[in-house]
Symmetry: C4
Subunit: 234 residues, 4 copies
């Protein structure tokens, strides 16, 4: 029997592989989980391709994005996404940042919010905010969340929801648990694909706010089933 932290490192490595296999991550993107004993810490792989992450590549960070036990480690430039979202959202236990291909179009198409159209994407509710980095970093940024200020601005746009699109860049999704964050990341991509196709066909009926809440509650109990299927494939 391994201790909870060791198990979580293994689960985080697996989450990386699952997200690659499901088409959410490619050579880029990352997934973090809050430390099980210390809520002011989180676990995140060193700077590397998600598909290659093993438990020993998982480092411990404080919410400022410092690798506490291995200060000289090569770390992800955008670790501030994880630190600031976990700081501002006490209910968040895990964060996925990706360049999810069907989601990016919704980050750049003006006036077409990503929202729950399939019950599997019900957690998205009636609208997903878009973080326009120009409002904070000006007209010539590299679009990356490369410091605390940008991380905090992203967290403000995220607000109380499960996901925030990043214009011309990608999406950040959170969950109460690592498995919920992974589940939501996969079904954000799924919902985006369905929504885009539906919008091409004609006027679309979306989930009501009430349906979104009720359906998200029902789906919460199904997360482990999906996780186990994806684990077997990864």
């Amino acid at each position: 029997m391994s201790d909870p932290l060791t198990q979580l490192r293994e689960e985080l490595a697996l989450a990386n592989r699952i997200l690659v296999r499901q088409g959410v991550l490619d050579a880029f993107g990352h997934v973090s989980v809050r430390h099980p004993q210390r809520p002011d810490r989180f676990l995140l792989a060193r700077n590397m391709a998600p598909a290659s992450v093993t438990p020993s590549d998982v480092l411990e960070f404080d919410l400022d994005g410092n690798a506490v036990a291995e200060p000289g480690a090569k770390v992800y430039l955008e670790r501030f996404i994880h630190g600031e979202v976990l700081r501002s959202r006490q209910d968040a236990g895990a964060v996925v940042h990706s360049h999810s291909p069907s989601v990016i179009p919704f980050s750049v198409a003006r006036g077409v919010p990503l929202r729950a159209v399939s019950h599997m994407g019900s957690f998205l509710g009636e609208s997903t905010p878009v973080f326009e980095i120009r409002a904070v970093a000006g007209e010539s940024s590299d679009l990356l969340i490369r410091d605390h200020a940008l991380g905090r601005a992203l967290a403000r746009t995220l607000g109380a929801g499960p996901a925030v699109l990043m214009r011309g860049h990608g999406v950040t999704v959170l969950g109460a648990t690592l498995r919920e964050a992974v589940f939501r990341a996969v079904y954000t991509e799924f919902n985006a694909r369905i929504q885009a196709e539906a919008l091409k066909l004609g006027p679309v009926t979306f989930l009501t706010a009430g349906e979104a809440v009720a359906s998200a509650a029902s789906n919460a109990s199904q997360i482990d089933r999906a996780w186990n299927v994806w684990k077997a494939q990864a």
Copy 2:
């Protein structure tokens, strides 16, 4: 030589794997078949991911959705789909419920009925009904068919046809046999993909009612060929 019921359990497990491999089912959805000796019973896997179903996971249900031989078994919440469709449709021998990705857009795009555009989807005829759960369960349901009343309402919307779309959720398809239900589920997805692409190109010529009937009759003799190909791949 195994008895018919044992063979049917094996075929049902295989149908689950085929539907996953063909992109109709993912971690969710289910397929049932009517009991070969007792038409008031049906076979359905216990609550689990379709890809993992083995013959020993197949349970026997009455049409009310009770697992008759294993009352404490963990069962699918939406087993009422199967019970009520099989109750209302004496001609139905098997039922597939899925979140078929190309079909869902037709469940939410208003005024664009899914219909036969390819001869392989001819069984769909001139229109596929859409079950709007709001009309029965109100504005804040979780979209799931979680009781008898919803199952009966779904069966009423299905009427005498081979398929019913479920708004924001998925589709339920039936067949006289298990293989026919699987065949129709796969080609409902295929037809939806073709129809969506055709509608983006221009005004579309669909099959006439007469063509749909004639073509569906011809295709009925081809089901085993498709089944055997899919079996080899699954």
Copy 3:
């Protein structure tokens, strides 16, 4: 060293597997080649799934669609496609009939002819005719080419070109050689995908008639390279 007919049977079995692997054929469709010594005969598999065809499944047919050496063999219902196209087109050495998924939308979208938009699809020229079976078989046919009269009508619509779309059904493509027919079948699907996407973006520049002729002549020398790549994958 095997004789030409034995080699051709092997190549025809391989062509079936290639077309499945390239997404042109699925459980349905078929490919034929004219007999190397007797131009009034052709080779075609017995009625079976393309992926499973072996050299010993290849039968010899006369142009009327009779299996000459094995009169009781189970044969494809639509063998008349092959017989009548080979009869009317002395320049044709092989014929592919498929339900090529990106091509079918062009068979039903009115006023949007499939035509050469990519130099790899240059053989398609400025327009591909669509066979509307209703004009011959009336409003209630099963869309299949189930007799000589329908085969002849299809061949008339084909005319002198390389391909004919079949409304709501699929496409028939020919080549001077088996490899050319396979090459054209694969790139008809490719061109259709490119054309559909381009038409969604804006007004499209197609190949001129002169470009189509010149490009098709250049590509003719590249067929073996594609064949060998596809052979290695099949």
Copy 4:
């Protein structure tokens, strides 16, 4: 320890396999790299399918497209693309020519320039030029870059940018290094897919010129990570 030229031949063979695996090349297309010691020479495979290229298939060419050490070798007809781009662009170290499927629609849809919409495609900047071969070769060319004059005309349209679309044909992408050219070829395809989907949704916010420059500079340090992931998959 092998010498730089031997290493480069191995890397070029790998680049071919990577580009096939990533869906940029199929049976056609080619990738070259400038000779590490002689800037007036480049390395390119003999005329063959990219997936099969081994280090021993890599030949040395002068910028006129002559295979210097093996004058009778079978060479790519379109080697002039590589020679003339490398001649006109001293900053280019490698060139990829492909029929990248999501890019071709942008080569034929008038008035819809391919441009940076995702930060991964930021190197594309505000517009990608389209080479209209008709302006040079007239109305009846085969669309191929089959001589020096066409190669020079293509290089002129390319100008100082990273990529040039070729109407109805494909795209040519360059990089300072082989890995950068491969990275750009893969993300040109990615960006095209995102841009096409976004344009179908509504009016699109593209990267500003400043964002494109800043993001491209940031991404330049990430090329090896992507290369290593693709290498593991190839």
